[in-house]
Each structure stands twice: as C-alpha cells, then as structure tokens.
Symmetry: C2
Subunit: 500 residues, 2 copies
C-alpha cells in the first residue's frame, strides 16, 4: 500500500504543479501582462487547463484511490494518510461526476453571462442580464442533479466552497445573528456620527505602499516566500507553499483602502505560507475553506488592523508619513474614523457592523431561487425589499442593487455566505486566543504579533485542508461556527466608539 500511496502522490504532484502554473498565468495576466496578449493568454490557459483537468480525472488516480480506500479505513482518522486519501477521493468523485459536456457548456454560458452582466450593470438594466442568469440558474440546478440527493439542494452548491457545511446550519446561524446586527445598527444610527473627512484626502502612493509593507512585515508575512504587486482588484494567489503572492491597489483620495486591503490579503497570504510542507503538491495544500480563509484575512484586517492597541503602536508612524493629512488628527479620532458605521447600498464598501447583512440578503435570495420559490424576473424587487428590511435603504437603480456583484454571472452561487461565516470564525478564534493569551493588547501595542501568528500557524494554518471547517473550528475553539463571539465583539467595540 505504501507503494500505491507513493504512486498516488506522484500523480497528484503533477496535477498540483499544473494547477500552480495556471495560477501563475492568471497572476501575470492581472499584474504585468501587456494588453495585446489577452488572446494568446486565453489560448495558453485553455490548453493547460484541459491538460490539468485530464490529468486530474485520470482513471489511474481513480483506481489507486479505490484500492487505497479500504486500507485508509484501517488508519487513524487523524493520520496524514487517512486524510490525504479521503479528501482526495471526495474531490475526485466531485470532478468525475460532472460530465465533460456540462463543463464546456458551463464555461460558455458563464463567459456570455459575464459580458451581459458587465453591460447590464453599466446600463443599470437588469433585463439584459436576466436571460443569462436564468440559464445559469438552470445549469446550477442541473449541477446539483449530478450528485446524490442532499437534505437541501443548496447543500451541494455550498459544499464546493464550505466542505461539509449544510444549508440549515447556515440559516440557523444567520437567523440568530440577523436581529442582533439590525438592532446594533439602529442603535448606532441614533447616535452622533464620527468624522472621517481626513481619510478622503490625497495620500502619496509610495508612502502608502511602504507603510503597508512595514505593517505586514510586522505581522509576519514572509517576503522570502512572497511578494506584493499592483492589480485592478486586490487578490492573493499561490504557486506552492513557498510562493504566495499578494496584490494591492490604490484609490484616489483614500488613505485607508490600500492599507487595509494589504492587511487583508496578507492575512490570506500568511495562511497559505503556513500550510505544512507535508501537504506540498497534494490537494490538501491550501485553506480549509473559503470561510476559514476569510477568517484569517478579516482577523488581520479588522480585529488587529482596526483595533486601538494596533494603532497605539502604528499611528505615530502613520502621522509621521502623512503629516499634512494627519498631523492634526488625534489617535482617538483616527480610530473612530476608520471604524465609522454607515448603512450603505454596496457590499464592498460596507463596514464591520453592516457587512453581514449584505451577505444574508444574498444567501436568502440564492436559496429561494434554487428552491424555485423566487423567479429570476422577480429578483430586483426581492432584492430591494430585503434592502429596506435589513438596512432601511432603497437602491436608486439596479446597478447599485441587484447588479452590483460579479459572482452570479460566473455561477458562483453558494459562495457569499462564506464571507459572513469568515467574520464569525475570526471572532471565535480571537476570543479563544485572548482567553489563553490575555496580553494580546499589550503585545499589539508593542507591534509584536508573533504569539498570535504562532498560535494560528499551529492551530489553523499547518493543517491545510486536513479538516473540514466545522471540524477545525470545533477542534480549536471547542464549538462549531457560532455567531455569539462576533456579536460580543461588535457590541463592545461599537458600544465604546458610539457610546451606546
């Protein structure tokens, strides 16, 4: 069996290499590729993706997995071998259950849907997107039909992003969370607003870049195995555990967006850099799920990066870099400014207190569409109704409403809830770590994040995809994903800022 396992690892290693190379092609396309090369790059990606897919679903891998399965059952559930074989087998089953002609059709529909969405958003005209979303929805329903029936059809979609997560669990979590977040936001809205005018000035790009680099260096992002570049949309990618790259962007008249984006991406990046080398070139190299990934990025961006102790250390340095903009802004004022809560129409511009409501709205609409309770034609109205319910706002048009996000055009249905779950997990981990390391605030005041990172490395990062998200959170915090710590965190933080 050892020999068969090694054979399997060799094959998986080749598939992993090809996947990493595809990621490099994509990174290059988003950072440095000259514009005229777009068609050429498409061709290269198409050739290599087909090869990688072919290698990934090769019958040779299927046969080895089948032969290894009974042996795996005899192993310790916590062993590397058991997890490698079972996680890989689950991936393999998923990849092979979907017919090749479906994959081709999906790719075609999503390309066209993406173009239609871009046009529809530009013209703020949902009718242009509607037939494409209808086709995409049909495709997603067909996708569900390839798999054994689940308790809820949405489970199958969710599982692609949050392995093992169930629709009912997410619903329950969100049902607990929603009224508490709505109540908090209403309380905040009744209080005097904080002033963040100083954020909306011109800030020198190079100085912003340097400051961001210093911050994530202090966090522990490893530049020997990483780098930062500029791109239109910030992202983190990796071509192996030892080559994890982040990107950032600068927005006009914003002193915060690049910095917090850098912290966010570094959070993702440190997770990937921390995956144990035993998982290198296997399907288990990478984060446990999108939500667990987001728990890392959000922790460094928000729980660390928008905290008062963090800025007690870094604010004098920031003031020194930007004396014209911040020379007359005190620490307290700055801290309040970067934590301003404001009900807004657009998810990506929303703050820690309102963000999850944007997610819940999308999740509920997705589930209703998959269940057939909601028709695509009625989607804009349903969107606007929920927007009024949760945030008290009515979108002036569909561009600022139902058309704002790219995800549905690419068929990413089942994805959104991971953003909110990530917030919840980040607070659970934070609470747990503080309970065993009560000096965290003092450490942050000294710019020392080593205890936090070490703990995350051991508890989360090193495991890669070994554990499913609920199992992992349970192991580390003693309970499954739970909204209570996040609510406590929000109430304490905003209670202090807004004097609730």
């Amino acid at each position: 069996m050892e020999a068969k396992l090694n054979q399997l690892k060799t094959l998986l290693g080749e598939v992993a290499d090809l996947g990493q190379i595809i990621a490099l092609l994509d990174w290059d396309q988003q950072t440095y590729m000259p514009q005229g090369a777009a068609e050429t790059r498409g061709q290269q990606l198409s050739t290599l993706s087909a090869l990688a897919h072919e290698k990934g679903i090769s019958p040779e891998i299927g046969k080895l997995l089948e032969e290894l399965a009974p042996w795996a059952e005899s192993l310790d559930r916590d062993s590397e071998e058991y997890r490698l074989i079972t996680v890989t087998a689950k991936d393999y089953a998923k990849e092979t259950l979907v017919p090749t002609d479906y994959v081709a059709e999906y790719s075609q529909v999503s390309t066209m849907a993406h173009q239609a969405w871009a046009e529809a958003r530009a013209k703020s005209d949902f009718s242009l997107f509607r037939p494409h979303l209808e086709r995409m929805l049909d495709l997603k329903k067909r996708y569900v039909s390839f798999f054994p029936p689940a308790a809820h059809p949405y489970d199958t979609l969710l599982d692609d992003f949050e392995p093992g997560m169930k629709t009912d669990d997410v619903k329950e979590i969100f049902n607990t969370l929603r009224p508490q977040q709505v109540e908090l936001i209403q309380a905040i809205a009744a209080r005097p607003q904080v002033d963040d005018a100083f954020m909306h000035l011109a800030y020198d790009e190079q100085k912003q870049w340097d400051f961001g680099v210093n911050v994530v260096t202090a966090f522990g992002y490893d530049w020997n195995r990483g780098r930062q570049d500029k791109s239109a949309h910030p992202f983190t990618t990796n071509f192996g555990i030892d080559d994890v790259r982040i990107t950032t962007r600068f927005e006009k008249d914003s002193g915060a967006s690049a910095l917090f984006s850098t912290m966010h991406e570094a959070g993702h990046g440190m997770y990937e850099q921390g995956v144990g080398h035993i998982w290198a070139r296997t399907p288990l190299a990478g984060g446990a799920s999108l939500a667990v990934h987001e728990s890392q990025s959000r922790m460094w961006e928000n729980l660390v990066g928008r905290s008062l102790p963090f800025w007690e250390h870094f604010y004098p340095k920031l003031q020194a870099a930007f004396p014209a903009q911040l020379g007359n802004v005190g620490l307290e004022q700055y801290y309040k400014g970067i934590n301003k809560v404001e009900r807004s129409l657009v998810r990506v511009e929303s703050d820690e207190a309102t963000y999850n409501l944007h997610i819940m709205l999308r999740l509920e609409l997705e589930i209703a569409m998959i269940e057939g309770a909601l028709q695509v034609k009625d989607l804009p109205e349903a969107w606007n109704a929920k927007m009024r319910d949760y945030l008290g706002l009515t979108p002036p048009n569909d561009a600022k409403g139902v058309l704002q996000d790219i995800h549905w055009s690419g068929g990413m249905i089942g994805y959104f809830s991971t953003y909110a779950l990530g917030n919840l997990i980040s607070a659970q981990l934070w609470e747990k770590f503080r309970s065993i390391n009560p000096d965290l605030d003092d450490q942050m005041r000294k710019g020392d994040f080593s205890a936090l990172l070490s703990w995350l490395r051991v508890k989360i990062h090193q495991h890669g995809r070994k554990y499913e998200p609920q199992e992992l959170v349970q192991r580390v915090t003693g309970s499954k994903i739970d909204p209570a710590p996040y609510v406590r965190y929000l109430k304490t933080k905003y209670g202090q800022i807004y004097g609730l």
Copy 2:
C-alpha cells in the same frame, strides 16, 4: 490532406502553448519570483517540460508528418504549407533521434557542470571544472553520433543554433575576417586613445530607464505587446508573437550599459513582435537562427545606437537628462567615447572592433576539441596562446581567461560563432538597406526609424523560421553571409573616429 494539416496544426499549437508557458515560468523566475520559491519552481518546470517533450515527440505528430511529406513535395517551395511541414519534420527528427536517457543524463551533467564552473571561476581554478567539461565533451560527441554522419562532426552541433550552416563555411568566413580585424585593431592601437571618463560616473537609474524607454519607443518596440523589467542578466523572451518581453539591468557608475542593453534587447524583441501571425503557435514562430536574431539586436544597438546621426537627434535629450555628467561633454566627444576601441580580456566587455576576435578564438578551440586535436587539460594554455595572437594580451588567471563564459558548462558548444555571424549579417542588411534608402542618416537625425523597421519587418521578421539563415540572407542581400560589409563598416567608422 487539409484535414491532416489542420490536425497537425492543432497538435503543434498545444506544444507551442506549453513551450510559451515554460518561457513564462522562466521569465518570472528571473524577474519577480521570491527566492524561497526556487525549489518549487524547479518542480513545476520539470513537470511541464516533461509534458511538453512528451507531447512534442508524440507518435501522432510523427505519423501526420510522414503522411503529409509526399504531399508537401508537390507544393510550391515557397508556400506556407511546404515550409511548415518540412521545418517541423526536421525538428521532429532531431528530437526523436536523441534517446530519452541521454536527455536525462545531459540534464544531470550540465547541472553539475554549471555548479562546478561557477565555483571554478570564483576560485579561478580550471582543475575544478576540467572533469565536468570532459564529461560534457563526451556527451556532445555522443550527441553527434545519434545523427547521420556530416562532413564535419561539428556541423551537427552548429546546426542546432544555425540551421543549415556548415563548419567549413564558418571557417572560411572567419579566415577572411580575422587578419583584417587584427590589422584594424593594431592601427587603432597606434593612435591616441579617446576619452570616455564621463561614462564612468553615477547616473540616476530611473532617468536611464526613462531615456531607454523613449529610445526603443522611437525604434518601434510595441509596448502593447511587450514590456520591460529588471533582471540580473538582460534577456528577451516571448510567450507568443503578441507577448514579447525584454529586461535590462543597471550597473554602478555606468551611463551606457543599461541603455545599450535596452536597445540590444529591443532589437531581439522587435524581431519576435514582427513574426507573421500565420506562424503563431507553430514551430516557425521565432527567429530564423541565433545569428539572424543577433543581427537584429546588434543593428539597433550598434549600427543605429552607436551612430553619429542617431546621437545628433538624441544627445541633446540625454544631456538634458544628465546635465551634471554630460553638460560639458560635446556630441563629438560623446560619440567617440561610446565607440572607444580597447583590447580587453573579456568578451562581454569588448567593443565592435575586437568582439569578433573573442568569438573566433572560441570557435577554433571548440572545433579542435570536437575533432580530438585538443584535450580539455590543454585548454587553458591554448586559450592564452590565442589570446596573445589575436589581441596581444595574456590573461592573468583562468577566471579572466578560459573560465569567463558560462556556455560550455551548459553544453552550448556550437553557439559562439552565431554572435560574430550576427555582426556580419547586420552590416550586410545595413548596406543593402542604405543602397535602396539613401536618406537613412537624415531619417535618424529626425529620430525616425520607421522606414528601417518596415523594411526589416517585410524582409526578415515576418518570415519567422520559414527560411534557413543562409537562404534568408541570400534572398534579402543577394549573397550569402559575407564578411566584407562588416569590414567596410568598421574601417569607415573607426577610420573617422581614430583618424586612420
């Protein structure tokens, strides 16, 4: 047959895509890859190279080529189809005649030889490199044995870099050239030396970068299908005709090296950008040979970039960028300074007048080693003897002598002469173009290079690898590779500069 040809093109397209992706992995490694990723990258390259090789020698391609061969013979010799099939068939035969275990052994030996060479050069101790070069030489002899016997065993090696070129032809060319170059250099040495002290000052890197970009933009390098980055050693690479990238480097206290290197690489780059799109994703996309490639880079670097008319246009701009360094240096003095002739020990530091002698020396030693007339143990002594003969210099040690170049450690035997042949071709093309476009100097004085580039596009670039180098040069200039124009060029230029 049309169907078979299309089938062949599809297969060749996939092989081409993989080759381009390998080039991207290499570009990234030399420009942006974090250091810690070296091992990972090696693994990715190894997996992809094996796949590309496997695809490239697939029996399917061999069978199609065999079936298409008789049909190709019935076609016009100048047709796209005839050339595609015959050039591809020659490549395929070469790739398949070499056994796979030889390729593996070669890769292993060259990796070790490279390390040994680097150490030997650092310690200036040839004995450390000697056993590795002996093994490499044996491997090259074995390589020759895989092919049908040629007039000279060195022919087989040469053919990998200069398709169709024969050892005897190169010898004859060099035998004509050598005495004339030696004589010229002796005449120059008897004259007062020019002053180029102003070149060896500190020049701001960003200003050098900007100036170089302006120059190659004026040349016609297409930034929509290209870009420039920094690397330890300047190079040009491409991932298709529409994605051709150059790199440069800055040396301390040099106002010239980055600029001339940028012009040189842009010359290579414009060649690749000018290849006709009919050759995209086929083995014929790319330069006709290394020498023809070098004729383009040398032309833009030397015949254009070190000419007086060129600087009549650009020198005021250069002075404006570097007033402290060049404010008191007149155009004439600058022009002479960048064309200073000086006998030196090191090939890469040598000027237009002495460069070819460095090449001839290497060619003669390579041929002697392949013939068995020269033993590796006697190589340093043979090197130094020729150095005295041709340049009147004796290397103080092997690091500045026989160990100076990397090529032999990688088994690149048969490569060096292409550098000198490139110089010769550049002057042949230059003379030809001036004969039909006598206004070239005036055009350059206006910073207008469009007529020159258009002519090169039509006569050279668009053809890709359609013609072998001798055939191509003959078609364009009316004669095969000929040293006379280069000698005329050198005599005119240096006669004027040194008052001969």
